[in-house]
């Protein structure tokens, strides 16, 4: 990007590294407008939100009356899912089964956090370990493809297995730590939908070598129709109904369950940490902190000045990241020199490979129309 065209939002800290960004006459970005118009009106963190959540909780409890578990929670060892687990069990009085997908990149902090949490809360844990040889091959294929979203294999496996397991064991309610307080902004241009199996398979077909025999997948039909409409699976994001403050949640967890922080958002996975603090900014110029910090600004949990100050800090410790580069290369079964070529090879986007992008756009359009019609009816 040319320096002269650079612009940063006057309200949050999103900038022109997100290609789709536009600015109004006051220099406020399109992400802020999207937040004000589409997200904020439906986001209630006050009493009314909590009352809404209570209604959902009652439904979950009624559903799970004679069952061993009334809901399932996907956990990574990170702050959001850890806090959600505590909140669900201790505050909401639910009986969750905690589910973890091990993609081969767990940090010691992640496993220790999960251990402390489930022991302290006396919750049952179930894990699924993805076959490393298949995972390695798929991740390597994504690097070779040149696209930005290198987290697709991990994210896809995680949700595919979570949903599969939930339906297999007849658990209808899936609770996730996804939340608007820290994730309301995420530029589409920085990545691509990890749940698009057509895209995942296309990339693997071009660059993969190992057959994906056991790798957990979820296809378009299953994700958008089978699970929600046929199996009646409901995804609940409880943290969106409460004034969730990440920094307070971390302090709370540290005190209550001996939880420990791992340095950055999604740092619980060694791969995601490396990908977000090194690969993505170095190769594509995308600094995901901008989206996270902007989300916090819009949620009223941080000032713009604080966010700008935070952005001044280096993304990573240079010495540590060099060691991580060696580790990541070794895990992927390639030399560091080979890995370096992934940093400089021609950039590609998901559009360079087959995907369900058009289908997804159509689905979004239908859902927008449905929402507008609903509003009109309500009025």
């Amino acid at each position: 990007m040319e320096q002269g065209n650079y612009q940063i939002c006057s309200r949050c800290v999103m900038d022109t590294t997100a290609q789709e960004i536009t600015f109004d006459e006051n220099g406020v970005c399109s992400f802020c407008h999207f937040f004000d118009e589409k997200i904020k009106p439906d986001w209630h963190r006050d009493k009314s939100g909590y009352q809404k959540l209570q209604k959902i909780v009652k439904k979950i409890k009624d559903y799970g009356k004679n069952k061993e578990y009334d809901c399932i929670i996907g956990i990574s060892g990170g702050v959001d899912s850890s806090y959600l687990t505590y909140f669900a069990k201790k505050i909401l009085g639910l009986r969750p089964l905690v589910f973890h997908v091990d993609g081969g990149w767990n940090s010691e902090l992640a496993v220790k956090n999960i251990e402390n949490l489930i022991k302290k809360l006396d919750i049952d844990l179930f894990t699924y370990v993805v076959d490393w040889e298949e995972m390695r091959d798929l991740q390597l294929a994504f690097f070779k493809s040149g696209v930005a979203n290198q987290d697709v294999p991990q994210d896809h496996a995680f949700f595919a297995m979570l949903y599969k397991y939930a339906t297999q064991y007849n658990i209808k309610y899936v609770l996730t730590g996804g939340n608007l307080a820290t994730e309301s902004i995420l530029p589409a241009s920085w990545g691509y939908n990890a749940m698009d199996l057509k895209h995942l398979k296309a990339v693997h077909k071009c660059f993969g070598q190992v057959k994906l025999k056991t790798f957990p997948t979820v296809n378009f039909f299953q994700y958008y129709f089978y699970y929600p409409y046929i199996k009646g699976m409901v995804i609940v994001r409880p943290l969106n109904y409460i004034p969730y403050v990440k920094s307070e949640a971390m302090q709370f967890l540290e005190k209550e369950v001996g939880w420990r922080y791992y340095g950055c958002k999604h740092g619980e996975s060694r791969f995601t940490n490396f990908f977000q603090t090194y690969f993505l900014p170095v190769r594509f110029g995308y600094d995901k902190r901008k989206a996270h910090l902007s989300s916090l600004i819009l949620a009223g949990q941080m000032t713009r000045d604080e966010a700008l100050k935070e952005l001044q800090r280096p993304l990573c410790d240079e010495k540590a990241i060099e060691e991580e580069k060696i580790f990541v290369s070794k895990k992927l079964g390639i030399t560091v020199d080979k890995f370096e070529t992934f940093l400089t090879m021609p950039k590609k986007t998901f559009k360079d490979y087959p995907s369900n992008y058009r289908l997804l756009q159509l689905l979004r359009l239908i859902s927008d129309i449905k929402r507008q019609v609903r509003y009109k009816w309500l009025k």
């Binding site: 489930i118 844990l125 894990t127």
Partner: protein, 253 residues
């Protein structure tokens, strides 16, 4: 360091780690590099790493995997699996492994223990003895390469290996493997009573109390465990854990 070492034991099957129950039903538990890295960060004193396929199919150790593992491993490592030549041992030590374990090949050629200990020193040669009860409830040495209970008496065999120069015995109960129901204290006692070299108890650990029993009742010098460090709870969820050092120190005084 603890007075009695508490050693995680990892089993390699092809490229990945598994955990068995009574030497059967191998369950995949992940990638060796990541597991070792996590144990590193947990500051584990020592690690045992056994390739459970190598001898069965008659191949040498996988030196490539071993090299990757040693590169990540900050604690002393004992490797076992597929060792049948002195050159293999030489090569393994040159990679930075501290101890090697010989199991099935000791049953075929006991002199190999003598040769190995004379060249490399007793302190680095461990003999693993798998023991299983036969239909008469008698302890016998088990040969995992043939899936067979042999006629060999484990007490006599342990004495012989000591005489041949083994520096340490890794005593594994096949019947207790993966059950987490406690060590076979009777078996451990039988062996520790007749040996002067250290015995590492393995097979059946499920809680810290089991370590205490193996050490205090069975006189084991060290304890090893697999399931206890890789599984958690009733769903046998794969989760790498290691007890708090202070807790072990307190219990194993």
């Amino acid at each position: 360091m603890l007075k009695n070492r508490v050693i995680p034991c990892l089993l390699l099957q092809n490229q990945g780690l598994v955990k068995t129950i009574r030497f059967k039903e191998p369950k995949y538990v992940g990638d060796p590099i990541n597991a070792i890295r996590i144990f590193n960060e947990k500051e584990v004193d020592e690690l045992i790493f056994l390739d459970i396929i190598a001898s069965k199919v008659g191949r040498s150790p996988n030196f490539e995997i071993l090299q990757n593992i040693v590169g990540e491993c900050f604690m002393p490592l004992c490797y076992g699996g597929g060792i049948s030549r002195l050159e293999d041992i030489q090569k393994i030590f040159s990679l930075g492994v501290e101890k090697i374990s010989i199991n099935s090949f000791a049953l075929k050629n006991i002199d190999f223990i003598k040769q190995a200990s004379e060249i490399f020193g007793s302190q680095s040669i461990v003999v693993t003895i798998d023991v299983k009860k036969n239909f008469l409830e008698k302890y016998k040495v088990y040969d995992h390469t043939r899936n067979k209970i042999t006629d060999i008496d484990p007490v006599e065999f342990a004495i012989t290996t000591q005489e041949m120069g083994a520096g340490e015995i890794l005593l594994n109960s096949v019947d207790r493997d993966g059950t987490q129901g406690g060590y076979d204290i009777d078996l451990i006692t039988k062996i520790t009573n007749v040996l002067s070299i250290p015995v590492i108890a393995m097979g059946g650990a499920g809680k810290i109390d089991d370590f205490v029993d193996a050490v205090k009742k069975g006189n084991a010098s060290a304890v090893a465990a697999g399931s206890m460090f890789v599984f958690h709870g009733k769903h046998r969820a794969v989760l790498i854990t290691y007890p708090e050092y202070q807790e072990l120190e307190k219990r194993l005084v």
